[in-house]
Symmetry: C2
Subunit: 452 residues, 2 copies
């Protein structure tokens, strides 16, 4: 039998709301790689037909009782279906790569098969290739998926033994979400906390709503409705870029703010420019939902997590003043959690469930005011450069899930001295998503100019 | 309001049964084409933002009454979404092309947008490129879609004015299925006749069943159950190849059989080899459903069509004997129709609806014996070579719709002295579909050897 906490992701999925997470990795071709290097890698991967149980699992149902899904083992797994070779049209810039990833992320996984796909992508300019991997949220959450990909990588450039993520050769490849997650792992996306909540019952949900309102009351303004808080369609846009951690750290040090505060300030400045350009900037400042670890300084240990409602101060014209307001809002949010009991904190981890719950109620998004405008997650990643079969991984970007009423998601991860931004949006509601990358850079550059 | 005859294709569609039709065109690059020729063509196409009503139409609903879909006009049509540039991985053989088309044909169209996509595909070896076009059956049937594509082509190689199929510049681009169809147009796929039937009511359906049984009784055997007559999944396999019409005509002339008889004999021989290799050839011969025009020699004029149940004589080892049996079965089928009244013939055009109707009843395929094993259509096409923007069209192949219980479809069209076979199958139920191409050639070669 499939746990309710997994099957909710199957029940909640429609053509408009695919509930899969993705990861995009960019690799530099090793020295001396021939023109068919990626094709050879693909053929080599197809020989790894020994597949760990997680990757053989496919859903069956609903059987009898609505929602009664079961996991079963796929005895006829068709590896060529899951592991695909694609190519970029000329000139093979990052632009063409993002276009392809947007398309691949917008199509539904086939429920007759194990719920994952791995796409090798050749034709990326500057001697690079890419890997886009996609897994259903019922199988893996976004961070667990990224971690699983990293486990098939090596810190040794000379290590040329291909280890596909689906290979059972390393015992560590068992379902990561069944084991103790990393501090942020459960917060990979707005919906991951549902797992804790479904068992808690309506009383707790009521309590959560109340606690949520209390936290909202700490904000200076009500959350405005924006172009992002609308019903969504199934097609996606994806944009990604990395920024040197050193640049972000320097700004944070100068302003007395954390790295995460600066990430939020970059997003705030970029969203302000983007909405100004669309003529759609609300008077009231945008509110981001920001997952944080509560281990440090909080009453509970372990994997306690909280979701801070943080103002993005998009009503302020001055970038440094925005950063100050954001840092202050984050401090207030953390203080809010510090005063809470362990039970209260557990209940609050239900908050990220809200967007998914709303997406199950047709029309709800049109009438319900948003609790926040978008989710911005910052997930720590590996600090040392990693290699796959001799190819250096130059970047790794989370491809996340927009929800009904939450048409844009920003997820950031760190890797080898860089902060890697992945922006995933509904194609219809978030036009010209690429512009946000330019505005993120502008935003950081303005902060540097003002503060350094 | 959308006619019931269109909306049935939206209601009948599930993740496992996408109801869109496709066409694959292969072009030779014109002399002196640069490496970015296809990219330039793509950019040029995106400037044609004047779009005919058919291509702007998108479905809305169901509203209130279940099944009450309406067509509405998409005022924000996002042409970049519909017209896409893709590339083949190296070495860019036909094999890589068919793999890509299989994937593209397996994903659902986005119902929030007009129900069509056009994919330009670069990187095909031997100085060629391809165009794969996909439209929902509610919008266009397969043959109408092919005809629409042909209308944007020219018989003049020097005509380099790009005319996209969605451009309203030619008045002829209005919905082809609303105008008088070509003799076979309504039989593009097994479901196209539903349009006539839905309005006819249960009494006629009952009559159809009876007439169908009568025709079945003209067959020497019951239709066996095969690996093709199973529930299907959403992923597709597509294979395509052309054969010179002259070769097929020569065999027909030697055997006193029609071109279509030889096409059926090629299919019969190929299917026999394929099923033998899988160890799945039934003792009883396979039965194909073959759409025919009834204008010639029949009691009625106009667009009367019939569906002949024809034995494929796959129990016979000798190819010439198979061809004789097929030709005789087709003659008997035509004679059956010749004895019928116009009303009877109209009612019989409902038969192709059967697979779609069955696909709406969960589990029906597992318990109902198949009326036929697969649909084999032969649709006349243009006889002169056609050009698009200076590029000669070297081949055009129909990409059709498998149904629940009908996992394989073979549709053939003629073009410039060639018969172009398009084989579309469910990826899970029809493994190694490419092998059928080899077997089709073997089958024709054996007939040539024996008869010429």
């Amino acid at each position: 039998m499939m746990p309710v906490t997994d099957s909710v992701f199957l029940l909640g999925e429609t053509r408009e709301h695919p509930l899969h997470v993705g990861g995009l990795q960019v690799f530099r071709l090793p020295d001396g790689a021939g023109p068919d290097h990626v094709g050879e890698l693909h053929r080599e991967l197809l020989t790894h037909t020994d597949i760990s149980p997680l990757f053989r699992r496919r859903p069956r149902g609903p059987m009898g009782t609505p929602g009664q899904w079961v996991w079963s083992d796929d005895h006829h797994l068709d590896l060529e279906y899951h592991v695909r070779l694609s190519a970029l049209p000329t000139p093979g810039r990052v632009r063409e790569l993002l276009e392809l990833v947007s398309r691949l992320h917008g199509s539904l996984l086939d429920r007759h098969r194990p719920l994952w796909e791995c796409h090798l992508i050749e034709g990326l300019e500057d001697n690079r290739y890419a890997v886009y991997t996609k897994a259903h949220h019922a199988l893996l959450d976004g961070v667990s998926a990224l971690r699983l990909l990293e486990r098939s990588l090596s810190t040794d450039p000379a290590d040329t033994g291909v280890r596909p993520p689906w290979s059972p050769r390393r015992s560590a490849v068992e379902p990561p979400k069944r084991t103790a997650p990393a501090p942020f792992a459960r917060l990979a996306s707005a919906a991951s906390a549902v797992r804790d909540v479904v068992g808690l019952g309506p009383a707790v949900v009521k309590y959560v709503n109340q606690a949520f309102r209390e936290q909202s009351a700490t904000l200076p303004h009500e959350t405005p409705k924006t172009v992002f808080n609308v019903p969504i369609t199934g097609a996606r846009r994806f944009a990604a870029q990395g920024w040197p951690l050193a640049r972000i750290r320097a700004v944070g040090a100068a302003a007395g703010a954390t790295v995460n505060d600066v990430v939020l300030a970059m997003c705030a400045g970029a969203l302000r420019e983007y909405l100004l350009e669309l003529g759609a900037l609300p008077d009231k400042p945008l509110v981001a939902a920001v997952p944080i670890s509560l281990r440090e300084g909080a009453a509970v240990g372990g994997n306690a997590v909280g979701l801070i409602l943080c103002t993005l101060a998009t009503d302020l014209d001055d970038p440094a003043a925005r950063l100050t307001a954001i840092a202050e809002s984050m401090r207030r949010g953390k203080a809010f959690y510090r005063g809470m009991s362990p039970l209260q904190i557990t209940a609050l981890s239900a908050i990220p469930f809200a967007p998914l719950a709303l997406s199950l109620v047709p029309g709800a998004v049109r009438i319900t005011p948003p609790a926040f405008n978008l989710l911005i997650s910052n997930v720590p990643g590996p600090s040392a450069p990693l290699y796959w079969n001799g190819a250096r991984m130059e970047g790794v970007y989370p491809v996340s899930v927009p929800y009904e009423g939450q048409a844009l998601n920003i997820t950031v991860t760190s890797y080898a001295g860089s902060l890697e931004f992945g922006l995933t949006g509904c194609r219809r509601s978030v036009p010209r998503l690429q512009r946000l990358l330019t505005f993120l850079e502008d935003s950081l550059a303005t902060l540097e100019k003002e503060l350094l």
